[in-house]
């Protein structure tokens, strides 16, 4: 659906900041999250996990556990079938190892027992015999021909000679004459980068409550970003019809992409089916780190050429990502997005994805983009330093704009990059003075944004109030923004609308809450559903007035005759139409089903000041400003919240967060003590500047905003640190030992 013609529409509600409808539940502790549900006769599930990075399972003896008083079911991979679809089989095998364990923390068996003590005791009684195999966790090592093979038979087609079977994906993008481009450059910089794997770090661990009856019907309560996708995966794995499995999404305690697949849900269902009792399965934090999905780690080579006056002549990058123990093609997004901010005549990107003995990666906010753009933006910054150019001016000079053929192929429509850069240039932050040991860095960021399959139902109640049923869990205020768009369209008060999140049987399919799609796609479907309801309400008014349906229009919550020719009638309120609906044809429901396309891409620019302690290598973030194009900010508080939250996740990625593996291939920091996500005292206020360059693909101009903000911080901070210490950093995280070592090497 295209942007409404009336571009200059004056909104009544859009752009205001009303309280969110689920606010009271969430500040009083009443809101029900994944682990908060119970069921009569409920059992406690626990999972036994591999202590080895890579091993063949020679045998599993569960007899002693089964014999323990209070144990009601024990399951292993033998309790699951073999799904035909390879990708579903991978998901299942990730939930419960078959034949081999592929990473430290991989599930090998599970129990359901009357309480947690018995369950823990039962796990100790399960005897697993392993044959330990050689393992590999580093991305570059995993690609070598002689690397231990994680999963045989899964290599990409046409695997190049000298590469390991672990390599599953290869992508190339770009256009133009590279050689000619580099020949025109006055300065060429080539540099290699590494980034560590990080975790989404949602505060709520995975949790679910599964009930499988002997009648073949299943109920699943689960914290997830997508109840429909969970249903499809679980129904496939459990070999049941999707209609027989109802999945209800609990309130969700953060996801950031990490809750877009299943880890424990099929196991809980299998335990319930075997025990005949409801089973609650909740991961502890250690399990979250060892066995859910972190992001990819990466290794990158970038080469960029620039003229003396700051024009990029050619750009090349090779990206190598590891995505854990199963095939994963996330490098695609790195290879596509890396140069999106630039208008280039010659650009080429190459991406390789490899398996390693690590947990299978899950999506993490703009998956694949942050580490790629980090490498590119670092080299652009270094070129500016070497050539004595202003980094903002140089980006403006090369900025992608409407009509630019993007580095990944398509030509851009209206985009907000130049406006965002201009806003940063004019902001006082950019010219504020810096003290000793301080540095300023900036970076552009980009994400594609998606739409996807969406259903919304809008029910008119007899009192004229409105109920919205939508199918995407509310991670960060979407009930508010959806209610606002419905109220705006209907011309009624925000308080008259209530939005609920449906279970899988109460509404048609909705894609996962990902790709920054909800405010865009669900919003679009809501507006369309409201227009559908308006059409129906106008037709009821027409019936009452006995005039033609087309002679009625809708304004500010009233049906009105469209002109003197239509007849002279008092406007009819939504309340009157609702109250008389039983007499005029029955209940009124507007609805809309769509596979929403046309999500506009999103650009952001981050500006950061840091100070580095030259004696310890510690970095302090002094000041941080986020500039981003939101298309149209429906609820600016929650747009700012996305910008701030994404920036801080990026700060963690840049400075301290990392998966640390030992020589033995075991994860050494599976806890929030040593996996160091930023705490409140680490940070300054995060200032935000929202730009609104309307997305032509949405009636109100909305663009997704959730993912882009995690992209720029990595390079922005690396650039600031590098400028502060006078030395280019090229690996993340820039933990103090790394910075101090660099300082010492400088002498």
């Amino acid at each position: 659906m295209a942007l409404d013609e009336h571009k200059k529409r004056i909104f009544k509600l859009i752009g205001t900041r009303p309280p969110r409808p689920d606010g009271v539940d969430k500040v009083t502790g009443r809101a029900m999250y994944g682990a908060d549900a119970t069921a009569p006769g409920m059992l406690t599930g626990r999972i036994l996990r591999s202590p080895h990075a890579h091993a063949r399972i020679k045998s599993i003896d569960t007899s002693a556990a089964e014999a323990l008083n209070g144990v009601k079911a024990v399951v292993t991979s033998a309790d699951f079938g073999l799904p035909e679809d390879e990708s579903v089989r991978d998901v299942q095998d990730n939930c419960m190892a078959r034949e081999k364990v592929l990473y430290d923390g991989h599930a090998v068996a599970a129990v359901a027992a009357i309480n947690v003590s018995v369950a823990k005791q039962a796990l100790k009684l399960i005897k697993v015999e392993y044959e330990i195999l050689a393992h590999v966790t580093d991305v570059d090592a995993a690609m070598q021909a002689d690397a231990p093979v994680v999963l045989a038979g899964r290599a990409m087609d046409d695997l190049p000679k000298g590469m390991s079977e672990n390599v599953t994906h290869h992508f190339e993008f770009g256009h133009g004459d590279m050689e000619a481009g580099f020949a025109k450059a006055d300065k060429i910089i080539e540099r290699s980068f590494k980034t560590a794997a990080t975790h989404q770090g949602y505060i709520e661990p995975h949790a679910c409550l599964a009930t499988m009856g002997s009648d073949g019907k299943g109920e699943l309560w689960v914290c997830t970003q997508g109840q429909y996708y969970v249903r499809e995966l679980c129904a496939d794995i459990m070999d049941m019809d999707t209609s027989q499995l109802r999945v209800t999404a609990s309130e969700i305690g953060g996801g950031f992409g990490g809750k877009t697949t299943v880890f424990i849900e099929p196991v809980a269902l299998a335990l319930s089916r075997k025990s005949g009792r409801p089973v609650k399965l909740v991961m502890n934090r250690e399990e979250v780190f060892r066995a859910s999905g972190p992001t990819a780690s990466s290794s990158t080579d970038v080469k960029i050429g620039m003229t003396k006056d700051g024009r990029i002549t050619a750009a090349h990058a090779t990206f190598r990502y590891q995505g854990g123990a199963f095939p994963s093609g996330t490098v695609q997004f790195g290879a596509q997005s890396s140069f999106a901010a630039y208008d280039l005549d010659a650009v080429q990107t190459i991406g390789w994805n490899t398996m390693t003995n690590r947990p299978k990666e899950a999506a993490y906010r703009a998956p694949g983009a942050p580490m790629a753009i980090y490498a590119v933006e670092s080299v652009v910054d270094e070129l500016c330093q070497e050539l004595g150019l202003d980094p903002l001016e140089t980006r403006l000079r090369n900025a992608a704009h409407k009509g630019t053929k993007s580095s990944y192929g398509p030509t851009f429509d209206d985009i907000g990059l130049e406006a965002t850069l201009e806003a940063a240039k004019l902001h006082p932050h950019y010219t504020a003075p810096l003290g000793p040991n301080q540095g300023r860095g900036l970076s552009c960021g980009f994400w594609f944004n998606f739409g996807g399959n969406t259903c919304v139902a809008l029910s008119l109640n007899f009192d004229g109030t409105v109920g919205i049923t939508e199918g995407n869990p509310d991670i960060g205020g979407s009930r508010a923004s959806i209610s606002m768009m419905a109220a705006e369209e209907l011309g009624i008060a925000y308080e008259k609308v209530r939005t609920i999140v449906a279970d899988t049987n109460s509404l048609g399919h909705n894609d996962v809450t990902d790709g920054s799609r909800v405010t865009f796609a669900v919003g679009l479907a809501t507006i369309k559903a409201a227009r559908d309801a308006i059409k129906k309400m106008c037709s009821r008014a027409a019936k009452i007035w006995d005039i033609d349906e087309d002679a009625v229009y809708w304004e500010d919550g009233f049906a009105k005759p469209s002109g003197p020719n239509a007849g002279s009638f008092e406007p009819m309120s939504i309340e009157e139409i609702a109250a008389t609906s039983p007499n005029t044809g029955g209940p009124i429901v507007g609805h809309h089903e769509v596979n929403a396309e046309g999500a506009g891409v999103s650009f952001g620019v981050h500006l950061v000041d840091v100070e580095v302690d030259p004696e310890t290598g510690a970095t302090t973030i002094l000041r941080y400003t986020v500039f981003q194009d939101a298309g149209k900010a429906v609820h600016p508080d929650y747009v700012e919240g996305q910008m701030q939250g994404g920036a801080v996740q990026g700060i963690g990625w840049a400075l301290n967060e990392e998966y640390i593996y030992g020589e033995d291939g075991r994860l050494q920091n599976p806890g929030l003590l040593d996996y160091r996500i930023p705490v409140a005292s680490d940070l300054p206020n995060i200032d935000t500047v929202i730009l609104e360059i309307p997305n032509p693909g949405h009636p109100y101009g909305v663009r997704g905003v959730g993912e882009t903000p995690i992209v720029p911080p990595l390079a922005a901070i690396s650039n600031a640190v590098s400028r502060s210490i006078g030395l280019r950093m090229s690996a993340l995280p820039m933990s103090p030992p790394k910075i101090l070592k660099a300082l010492k090497s400088k002498g």
């Binding site: 953060g254 003590l673 409140a680």
Partner: protein, 158 residues
């Protein structure tokens, strides 16, 4: 393991429960008393989602045994509002959009209330250090700090 009988006071109400000797106060609150507002984010005192007050001290309920609750006064998020009347912190968290997913919110509210009791007029830095043990992954903390300050100002009558 023989269960232990405990008499305690929770949010002003006399409460009795039995628990295993190794069962945490958090598990007792959530699983035995159905007070699920306190959350388990880590089980090791690193995230603060389980914050409660025990005898007027802010603690992580995952690091207290249920058995230790004998004879003490426990305050949880469920006791923060006075019926329908929200505490100023609760109001300002909603109005200031200081929550996104909301799972860390109960713990942060309990911790912030403890701060304002001790220090009604904190600086931003003091708020940030006091709340350093309450992890939030959604907000970047910015709006949380501002909401605490707004509530503090209201409570001071400013």
């Amino acid at each position: 393991m023989k269960n232990i009988h405990v008499s305690t006071t929770i949010n002003g109400d006399p409460t009795e429960f039995i628990c295993a000797p190794d069962e945490s106060l958090l598990d007792v609150l959530r699983d035995r008393l159905r007070l699920t507002g306190s959350k388990e984010g880590c089980g090791s005192g690193d995230c603060g989602a389980c914050s409660v007050m025990v005898d007027g001290r802010l603690v992580c309920s995952c690091l207290v045994l249920g058995a230790e609750a004998e004879g003490v006064e426990v305050e949880t998020i469920e006791g923060m509002a006075d019926g329908d009347d929200l505490h100023p912190l609760q109001k300002h968290f909603i109005n200031g959009a200081a929550l996104q997913c909301g799972v860390c919110t109960p713990g942060i509210l309990v911790a912030a209330k403890a701060l304002l009791k001790k220090n009604p007029n904190p600086t931003d830095t003091e708020v940030r250090y006091w709340l350093a043990g309450n992890l939030c992954r959604c907000t970047g903390y910015d709006k949380i700090i501002k909401a605490v300050q707004a509530a503090a100002a209201e409570m001071r009558g400013a």
